[in-house]
């Protein structure tokens, strides 16, 4: 499964980093605490958060995450989107809140035996 599959399946908005649509997805991690993600997220996971600032991209890139999904129609800060474009790590968006987004992703990942 790749990032563009998630965009298609859930009708996600692509804010930036469109070049990274073919990045492999190996699961997900949901948290708004940056050190929690830094310490515990794994390579290839999608990160579900409501944080929109540039440090989100720093972490997504350092951790080799597949993509970031912003919930509740949050849009990325300009410098976050710019870094996402530069690194080819997509920032996606949804109007769903975290609980709903995570639930739907989990169901899909289970069905595909990704988690």
């Amino acid at each position: 499964m790749v990032v563009s599959d998630l965009v298609e399946q859930f009708g996600l908005v692509t804010y930036s980093g469109g070049e990274g649509m073919d990045r492999q997805v190996s699961g997900g991690y949901a948290s708004d605490l940056l050190s929690d993600v830094m310490g515990n997220a794994l390579e290839g996971q999608v990160w579900i958060t409501l944080q929109t600032h540039k440090n989100v991209m720093a972490i997504a890139s350092l951790k080799d995450l597949a993509a970031v999904i912003l919930v509740k129609d949050h849009a990325p800060d300009e410098d976050a989107a710019a870094q996402s474009d530069a690194e080819g790590v997509p920032i996606l968006g949804t109007s769903r809140q975290t609980f709903e987004m995570v639930g739907e992703l989990y169901e899909l990942f289970r069905a595909h035996e990704i988690v």
């Binding site: 940056l34 050190s35 929690d36």
Partner: protein, 137 residues
């Protein structure tokens, strides 16, 4: 191999720059990916601690055949109670920093959990020094 980074306190837009640079170098050196992941976590948390708490700081990286050594030094408020600062969930970060999702009190334990040795010394109102060692094994 040795090199230095200077980190400016309060400059969140540059946080992660040094860690990203170090990650590239470790990759080029062919260090095992699982070790790079741990070193990058420790480096990033050290970097963010300077940005979130100190006025300015320096990170001296020393890559030896058997290990990497990160020597971090800052000018800042220092840590009053290092033992408490090491506890998960304890933080003195400002409200503003917490709203960004930092200051959850997980930084130092992330460093400890991803290194082989961590030494901290600190003088209140002067600054803090950390030495982090991760062996290449």
């Amino acid at each position: 191999m040795e090199f230095d980074y200077q980190i400016t306190g309060g400059d969140f837009s540059s946080a992660g720059f040094a860690s990203s640079h170090l990650k590239k170098i470790l990759k080029q050196l062919g260090i095992q990916p699982r070790l790079i992941k741990k070193i990058v976590i420790a480096m990033y948390e050290a970097e963010v601690n300077i940005v979130a708490h100190a006025w300015q700081g320096w990170i001296h990286v020393r890559i030896e055949p058997q290990a990497i050594r990160l020597e971090i030094q800052d000018q800042g408020p220092g840590i009053e109670d290092i033992e408490r600062a090491m506890e998960d969930g304890y933080s003195t970060a400002s409200e503003e920093v917490r709203e960004m999702g930092f200051g959850a009190g997980m930084g130092l334990s992330n460093i400890k959990n991803n290194s082989d040795d961590l030494e901290i010394t600190s003088t209140v109102n002067e600054g803090t020094e950390l030495t982090i060692i991760k062996k290449f094994q």
